[in-house]
Amino acid sequence: MATDKEHQRQAAHNQELLDVLDRQRFPDWATTIAFYKAVHLVQAFFHVTGDSCGSHTARNGILKSKYPEIWRHYHPLYSFSRLARYWCLKVKPDHVEYVIRRLNKLEREIERELKDIAHKKAS
């Protein structure tokens, strides 16, 4: 099992690829990379919360039941990347902008939750 630092490193690594990838040529891959960055962000978050999971379904279940605010941003990334990966949806470069925006919202939400947790621990 990877540590939270390793998940954070992998999330940053995925972001690096997103930054250099030609999104005009590979918008489908851009959405997939964005989703897997989201997975690593959530996994790193779970290390802090003490949650653990070994599958997409288990991860989704934990997010839905315990962290619905995170799920609200994670779900669109999960669904859209499924369409790109398995349903061969013709992803357009415009779509990537929406996906990146959603990823940024997810990142902010996770940061907010982490602050809440730290605040609760401190008080």
């Binding site: 997409h56 379904t57 279940g61 799920w71 669904s79 369409l83």
Partner: protein
């Protein structure tokens, strides 16, 4: 009658290894442990509960699609590898990003109302390629088609 002692229910403890004799209607009797019998009872109870949630969930998906008919053209339910997929086909040929938030709320709502069903909501654009094969491997619960009207509250 007044002296009749009310019988206590038989207790089946999960941890018990005491033997019980099960006598089915066809008299094909068998012996098992009390713990196994307790687990079988719980499974039967869960199965009844699951069955009810499944039927209610189908109806709920149909009603939700109907309530969002401006955006939703068709609704499908199919069994995926690890969850029940609720596939919402939107009216437009493009993926509708403005509809994502509502779908995520719907997904959360289904998880809360029908926890045993383990559903996952996803959107597909209204494209022939996307819908190809859906009718053979899923149940259409909303939209034009013969099966749409078959979904009625039990």
């Amino acid at each position: 009658m007044a002296n009749r002692i009310r019988q206590k229910p038989i207790e089946l403890h999960f941890e018990s290894t005491e033997q019980v004799l099960v006598v089915p209607d066809d008299k094909d009797r068998f012996v098992t442990t009390m713990g196994e019998a307790a687990r079988a009872c719980q499974q039967a109870e869960n199965s009844r509960e699951w069955d009810q949630q499944w039927k209610d969930m189908l109806y709920h998906v149909h009603e939700w699609c109907k309530a969002h008919e401006d955006s939703v053209a068709e609704g499908y339910v199919c069994v995926g590898d690890s969850a029940i997929n609720i596939i919402v086909c939107v009216r437009g040929e493009d993926y509708d990003f403005s509809f994502e938030d509502e779908l995520s709320e719907f997904d959360l709502e289904l998880a809360q109302k029908f926890p045993l069903c383990k559903t996952e909501v996803m959107q597909i654009p209204n494209q022939r390629d996307m819908k190809a094969g859906l009718s053979s491997r899923s149940m259409k619960v909303y939209g034009d088609g013969q099966r749409a009207s078959a979904t009625s509250r039990p």
